[in-house]
Amino acid sequence: MKIYIRATGNISPQKTFGHQFLTESLEHTGDRLTCVEPDYKDIIDVKLIRRMSRIIKMGVASAIECLKESGVAIPDAITTGTAYGCLEDTGVFLTKMVEHNEELLTPTAFIQSTHNTIGAQIALMLQCHNYNNAFVHRGFSFESALLDGMMLLLEKEANNVLVGGIDEITNISHTILKRMGLYKREAISNLDLFTTNSKGTIAGEGAAFFLLTNQSSVNDYAVLDGIHTFYKPATIKETEQQILSFLSAQSINVGDIDLIITGRNGDSRNDEVYDQLQKSIFTTHRLINYKHLCGEYPTSTAFALWTAANIIKTASIPTAISNEISKNKLKKILIYNQYQNIHHSLLLLSAC
């Protein structure tokens, strides 16, 4: 059984909402890439919006865009992945709790802070009583949601699944993560992310949804061949082995891949893995990157998937991503993302 990516929806730090495929690349300077958001009043009922914080609006709007494109009114299942959850509401509730010493607190921020709120709000809006799950596991959050969705299709429990990856930056979260030394000390342009050889990356955020189905149609973006995640490999050899085993399980070898998209994030420590692989198993490929467009965040693989799916659909690579790749054949794309050598993800896509 093949799994098709029928539709997508993406709100990101680039102009991606409304199915725009990176016709221009937006420059952000500083250590933080924030999303280009639509006017939500055009997309979501005003009466519902008042109860939605920013991340929920982002998630719901991109889910709606995806469903519209798919022609599916009510999906057979909804799975979401978010590592940080609804940070804004968490921060609001915590702040009030501290400032008012646990008195006079109101419920809205608390209710909205729960990690399954995005998926739940989508179900509520659609009156979708079907399977609904939410994953909150760091750099595997989106991948877990994707695997769950793919399994439902393979198990024939669903014919289509809406899968999303969402994470946001808030002032509070950014301050804390910055203190942890994750980001560049100096202000840089995101477009120079891979040329400044220094520690730290840039923060990003985004909400991307996909409608996966086991029934093909003329409008499908691509086939999602497979997914594999692995955790804290002990050596680079183990990393290579995991990647090669994944490809072998897909009955291909490295030479069959037309394009490799990596999660290089401009942090010289983090990117060592990609440097090593470029010299070993990926030596015959040029690796292209995506995090200069969306920043680094735990569910960024969703942005990479969106990018890869669009590359296959349009049979082209926008210059925002790269203008150095031969565009002869773009039928098999491997996405490889890893963060601090802890969470490694592999996704393989093919043309339909």
Binding site: F93, L94, E102, F110, N132, V136, R138, M151
Partner: protein, 399 residues
Amino acid sequence: MKSTVFVAGIGAISAIGNNVAECLTALENEAAGIGDIHHLQTVHRNKLPVAEVKLTNEELALKAGLSSTISRTALLSMVAAKEALDDAAIENISSLRTGFISANSVGGMDKSEDFFAEFLANNTKGKLRNVVNHECGAVTELVSDKLGIKNYITTISTACSSSANAIFLAARLIKQNMLDVVVAGGTDALTKFTLNGFNTLMILDQQLCKPFDENRKGLNLGEGAGYVVLVSEKVAASLKKDVYCELSGYANANDAYHQTASSPEGTGSFLAMTGALEKSGLQPSDIDYINLHGTGTQNNDIAEGTAIKRLFADHYPKMSSTKSFTGHTLGACGGLEAVFSALAIKHSIIYPNLRLETPMVDLPFVPERKLVKNVPVKNVMSNSFGFGGNCSSLIFSKL
């Protein structure tokens, strides 16, 4: 060919016991664990009853073999997960594809809320080590790292149905031949965040909760962790010890009615229970015991009760809410109650629903008020219904 998934090990820690044996003794002796707040530093001390685990973080850390400076949520998780793995006693586990699927609602919030107080006053203050494991997934990894599990690890957070969904996913991964053994369940420690959050919803009982009582006033929050070790048929066949039972049915549905309230007809509950029965191939009349979600809130109990009325019409099995013992342990309740379900099958017992004085007027059945022993308990349904309309039901069956 339909493959089967078995429960080979169980582990638990809650307000009624620091391990499975202690929890079982308490259940048999009608000894609830709900009372005054001792560990949590909150203005609600002496006002709101909760079901705390009766150990300090230092004591938990010793049991867990982890540092006492890490989140209580992780400590509870480690204690229960380790007990479950030891109980399963799988000799060649290092050669098997092993997963850890955990669940919790607010991750390491117990530490983050302490950090936050200092941070708010001055954002250069507050110990970073208190927030480095804030994320739900970070708590899971503290435990999976200690247990040495890395083939597949993930965390689910769907409010009160979280750990039921974790167990459900684990079964599917085994059936899809992606894993051979999975430790699955959930954990949650009491935090000011959740205590205050639930308080704003005005669904906390200021006395001990009375699930399924006509005059119930709300729930009592609890903490704890519960895990099962699920194994494939092949692994089960290699074990020296008997397995507890089979996970024969499971389903996940969404109420899609309101962010926190259940629909009066209990739509999500009905769909989850129906789906679990379909998956198991059983009829409603085959269920011997329902471990109710039974939080004690006005809303849940009538919604769940109405759904049961619809589904089981006239063939009402025995049922009870063990939350009358353990309080509502949020992300842990599905896991904890899965452990209790397995024990009910093994020991042929049905737990009492404590403090039920006046049966609910609108329901044609009454949960068991006394412990029932030596009855056939072949099929147990365990319900977990949460905020966001996330409803899940699991069915465990005797071999």
